[in-house]
């Protein structure tokens, strides 16, 4: 199957990325975030500060913890193994408490394969595409999977 997806691997991320990027401010409330997920029908938002600087991302999966009664969670998730970490997502009030902070970005010409490897290594589900410090798009697992699925749909089993 890999031979049918070689051009996807080599394609620059600008051909696959989502160009219309909606961002959220780090101080956006959780309630507003929920509405924004619904409104824009996306699974992930890049998070920015007052100056529009990229700080990380917040994924809809980050909301999963809110679906679990805190009493079912292990105390080490709250304070770390030795009690040196305060997990702010337990007390989430705004985006900054839920988001994953990181500075992993790719350029528009980065090959898709490299972007996917970056996502795996950093444990991210999407990476912002930045050109000259400006956010020009976002490439997500879903973008790449869509491309791969579309391609493989037309491949006959014997191929």
């Amino acid at each position: 199957m890999h031979q049918h997806t070689s051009d996807i691997r080599e394609a620059p991320v600008k051909d696959i990325m989502t160009k219309r990027v909606f961002t959220v401010h780090k101080d956006t409330s959780i309630q507003d975030l929920l509405m924004l997920f619904e409104k824009h029908d996306v699974s992930d938002f890049p998070v920015v500060d007052d100056e529009g600087k990229f700080l990380g991302d917040v994924h809809e999966r980050d909301l999963l913890m809110l679906a679990v009664e805190p009493r079912y969670l292990d105390e080490h998730r709250l304070i770390g193994i030795f009690g040196t970490r305060l997990n702010e997502s337990f007390f989430a009030e705004s985006v900054k408490d839920l988001m994953k902070e990181h500075d992993v970005t790719v350029k528009p010409d980065t090959p898709t394969e490299e972007a996917v490897l970056e996502m795996w290594k950093a444990g991210l589900r999407c990476i912002p595409v930045v050109d000259d410090g400006k956010l020009v798009g976002i490439i997500s697992e879903a973008d790449v999977i869509d491309k791969v699925v579309t391609r493989l749909k037309h491949v006959k089993p014997k191929d």
Binding site: R71, E75, G80, I81, F82, G83, L86, D103
Partner: protein, 380 residues
């Protein structure tokens, strides 16, 4: 080959005991330590502490590595929670100074013994507070969050003070002190250099495509810094702690895969063996022999931390309920205290009083956890 059967039995029993303790709302460290008590000289005398010593050393090294790797930025805690920092610092300061003076006066301990005695018996184990806050569904309550903030600060500041204390005890004179500070400078230089070089090395190594390279590099860093710390007269675990702080900022190691795998390895095997190892060394037959001393230690160290925290909370204008909550939250003792005790014993500081202090720690842990849990459940 005693270590094979000892490890298998100890891990098995600790799973059962920890589950039992968890079910009655107590922290798992009691189950792991209790396993050592049950299988060691105190009861069944099946295994010696020596049989699992290497694994136990790895346990405390991994525990301290994860403490550094997961550590919340102290500057952030101070900036965002200034009042909590002041309360935590004041409470810890009063507790340490009071216990230090008590150890000098009551037990006629040496200066070094008194320093480590204070650290081993005053630091808070946050797990009890966290468990209570979670079990009562109080994570959205500001009081619950603030309590954990204070207790975490207690641990983080305690680790810094521990590093300073280890530095002090490795010198015997002014000349020795200068030599120690030269070694510390060398150690800091190595840490700063590694902090700059390692992220690049890890980034390049991961790109090479060798499987799980980030784990290999992490372990090389932990072992090298632990070895260097030991060679410089500091404790190996402090090297592991600083390795954690350095690697915290490596992009490749930020992934959930790395963090979860390290925790599984630590908590699935090595860390329970460390706590059990401390239990194996503890002989409860010393409790009746040193009953008076142990009771004095337990109630003095719990009392001074409770009163110190309450006084600090009142001084900074908090309500009586807040002061009492933080007081009960900070009296719990457990993992942190066992680690400090293990370090002090390994440095030979408690020679002659090891049995007394191990037995006192066992009693202190049980009493403090019960008092803390009951107090917090009434106040939260």
């Amino acid at each position: 080959m005693e270590f094979l059967i000892a490890s298998a039995v100890i891990i098995g029993v600790s799973i059962i005991l920890s589950e039992l303790f968890e079910r009655v709302g107590l922290v798992s460290v009691l189950g792991e330590f209790g396993t050592g008590l049950l299988l060691g000289v105190s009861f069944l005398a099946l295994f010696s502490a020596e049989s699992i010593e290497i694994f136990a050393s790895m346990g405390v090294i991994l525990l301290l590595f994860l403490a550094g790797y997961e550590e919340t930025d102290l500057r952030f805690l101070i900036r965002e929670h200034r009042k909590l920092f002041l309360i935590s610092f004041t409470s810890l300061f009063l507790g340490l100074v009071g216990t230090f003076l008590f150890a000098l006066a009551y037990f006629s301990f040496t200066f070094k013994q008194a320093i480590f005695f204070a650290l081993a018996f005053v630091l808070t184990d946050v797990a009890v507070g966290a468990k209570t806050v979670i079990s009562m569904g109080k994570t959205q309550d500001p009081l619950g969050k603030n309590l954990l903030g204070i207790a975490i600060l207690d641990t983080v500041i305690g680790l810094i003070l521990l590093a300073v204390a280890i530095t002090l005890v490795t010198s015997n004179s002014i000349l020795g002190l200068i030599s120690v500070f030269a070694k510390i400078l060398l150690f800091i230089l190595v840490i700063v250099t590694m902090g700059r070089v390692l992220p690049v090395v890890i980034h390049k190594s991961v790109k090479m495509g060798v499987e799980e390279t980030e784990f290999s590099i992490a372990f090389i860093t932990i072992f090298l810094l632990a070895f260097l710390a030991e060679e410089l007269g500091l404790a190996a675990v402090m090297g592991a702690y600083f390795a954690g702080i350095i690697l915290q900022h490596s992009r490749e190691l930020e992934s959930r895969h790395f963090s979860e795998t390290m925790k599984s390895m630590a908590y699935g095997f090595f860390v329970p063996l460390f706590f059990a190892w401390m239990g194996l060394q503890t002989d409860l037959s010393y409790v009746p022999i040193y009953f008076k001393e142990i009771m004095v230690i337990v109630f003095f160290t719990l009392g001074i931390k409770f009163v110190g925290t309450l006084a600090a909370a009142q001084t900074y204008g908090l309500s009586l309920k807040e002061g009492l909550t933080y007081g009960f939250g900070l009296v719990s003792r457990g993992a942190d205290n066992l680690v400090v005790l293990a370090i002090a014993i390994s440095l030979g500081i408690f020679a002659g009083v090891t049995e007394l202090l191990l037995a006192a720690t066992a009693v202190l842990m049980v009493v403090s956890i019960i008092i803390s849990s009951i107090g917090l459940k009434r106040l939260l």
